[in-house]
């Protein structure tokens, strides 16, 4: 009996190795939230937790394999929140998963807005949902007026974080600039207890550091070239000439690369998900102007 059991375990390992996707199939089990609610016999909360876990596992699996499509993500989140409209974490995390560009997310910010608005209808007193709504409008849809309105709505909720009023005003005036983006990610980092969201916010703040630093370095190199006539291919000439005190490094501690054409890039682009500057140009595209 033990031999047969050990043999079956070995066979299963071989199956998993041959078909790694077999253990997480793209199925919704039952696609209709209404049908599920009927079948749950009143145990909606448990079914909602199961479908939420299913959504987390689905996203994690796709993300791990750098998938660019997440077709079941929104349906899973829709079912989860239909079963339990007060499952706040599904709206908050779900919106993040939906809004971010592939492969970090589904690249569906409109769906993220739809999801959060559903959450707000069911949980009008939760200011965090208005914050998330404004965040998606600002960061993913670049609709700064809509973001300002969302923050304004949220600021009127009792016990809302006072930052919402500041963000509403800032968004209306300075929507789209790096300082506002830094303010929003800093707020996210400081107001969440969830380690996943904190880590994500930190990565965004580090990316903002890169986006701010790269143009400054490129401008410095251009000024060096204009003054000395030398086009440096590393930062050492600038260090030796006293233009910089040390070799500049990115927030991960890796030194920036200076290319012969004056562009500055990060050492390892694959380590960065959210930066817009300091990346090598895509094939066939001209390099971005400093």
């Amino acid at each position: 009996m033990l031999t047969m059991l050990a043999g079956s375990a070995g066979a299963l390992r071989e199956i998993v190795r041959t078909r790694p996707e077999a253990h997480l199939q793209d199925v919704l089990y039952i696609p209709s939230a209404k049908a599920l609610k009927r079948m749950s016999l009143g145990y909606d909360g448990l079914l909602a937790d199961i479908y939420w876990t299913r959504a987390v596992q689905y996203f994690g699996w796709k993300h791990k394999h750098k998938s660019r499509e997440y077709p079941l993500l929104y349906p899973l989140l829709e079912i989860t929140t239909e079963l339990d409209p007060h499952l706040i974490v599904a709206y908050r995390f779900g919106a993040t998963f939906l809004a971010q560009e592939p492969p970090d997310g589904a690249g569906q910010p409109e769906k993220a807005v739809e999801l959060i608005e559903r959450g707000i209808r069911a949980n009008a007193d939760d200011w965090r949902l208005y914050y998330d709504l404004g965040f998606v409008y600002a960061m993913n849809l670049e609709d700064y007026q809509a973001a300002a309105k969302a923050f304004e709505r949220g600021s009127e909720v009792p016990h809302a974080h006072p930052f919402l009023k500041v963000l509403a005003a800032d968004m209306a005036q300075h929507g789209g600039d790096l300082a506002t983006a830094r303010l929003m990610w800093q707020t996210t980092y400081e107001t969440t207890d969830d380690p996943g969201i904190k880590s994500n916010a930190l990565r965004h703040l580090q990316a903002l550091d890169v986006d701010e630093t790269v143009p400054k370095l490129e401008e410095l190199v251009r000024q060096f070239h204009d003054k000395t006539g030398i086009q440096p291919t590393s930062f050492f000439p600038l260090l030796e000439a006293g233009w910089i005190r040390r070799i500049p490094t990115d927030p991960l501690g890796m030194p920036y690369k200076l290319l012969p054409d004056g562009r500055v890039e990060v050492q390892d682009p694959t380590a960065w998900s959210f930066i817009r500057r300091g990346l090598p140009p895509k094939t066939g595209e001209p390099p971005a102007k400093p």
Partner: protein, 258 residues
Amino acid sequence: MTNRIGTIAFNTFREAVRDRVLYNLIVFAFLMIGASLLLGQITIGVQRQLLINLGLTAISIFGVLIAIFIGIGLVSKEIDKRTLYTVLTRPVQRWEFIVGKFFGLMGTLAVNAGLMTVGFFIALIYLMRGLQASDASILAAVYFILLQFMIVTAVALLLSSFSTPIESAVLTFAIFVVGSFSEDLRGFAEGAKGATHYVAMTISYLIPNFSALNYIASVAHGNAVPASMIAWNTAYALLYAGAVVCAAAIIFQNRNMK
């Protein structure tokens, strides 16, 4: 009278705890509670909620199954083993027999639910490293589950008093399922007109309303259970179960044992 009912209740309790089905279901319930701790590792942000939802659902579902599996045999087993005739030759009224059986099974279910609740709270303390004030509402949800058991037990006893065990099991489960939809039926009745409205409304009041007694999702979110709801649900369950047990007693009273 109280002594006779108490004796029958105690004997029913003693017989029930010897039933192997009972232990299997309790073990499954504990396994489910334990599994929720593991499941919490593969999800985000709902570990406490998952434990409460899964733990209380396990207590509820397995308790209902115990109520059905044991309840359907309460009378029919006694008839098959011919022990009923021995009991009824004593100065025991038929209705006392029914009421004693009811209390015996309710006692069994209360002890089981109590044990499962202790196991659940151990898991909750392990997960949360302690208890919060809002966890007191979980006890209210468990109390409502006991009220559910009361109604299911009464229905199983009623059906057991005149039908076979298999018929009783199927019908009791069907009534449990239909009772979970009673809010939908009431919603349909409110939207209907004429005779349909009255018929649907009558049925919605006749079938037991289990959704009114289901507070699991609410306490999982940390919401308190209003005292008025505890009072009204207690009254509803006592009155409904009492009516069903009366019906069981009347049927059994008039049943021909030959």
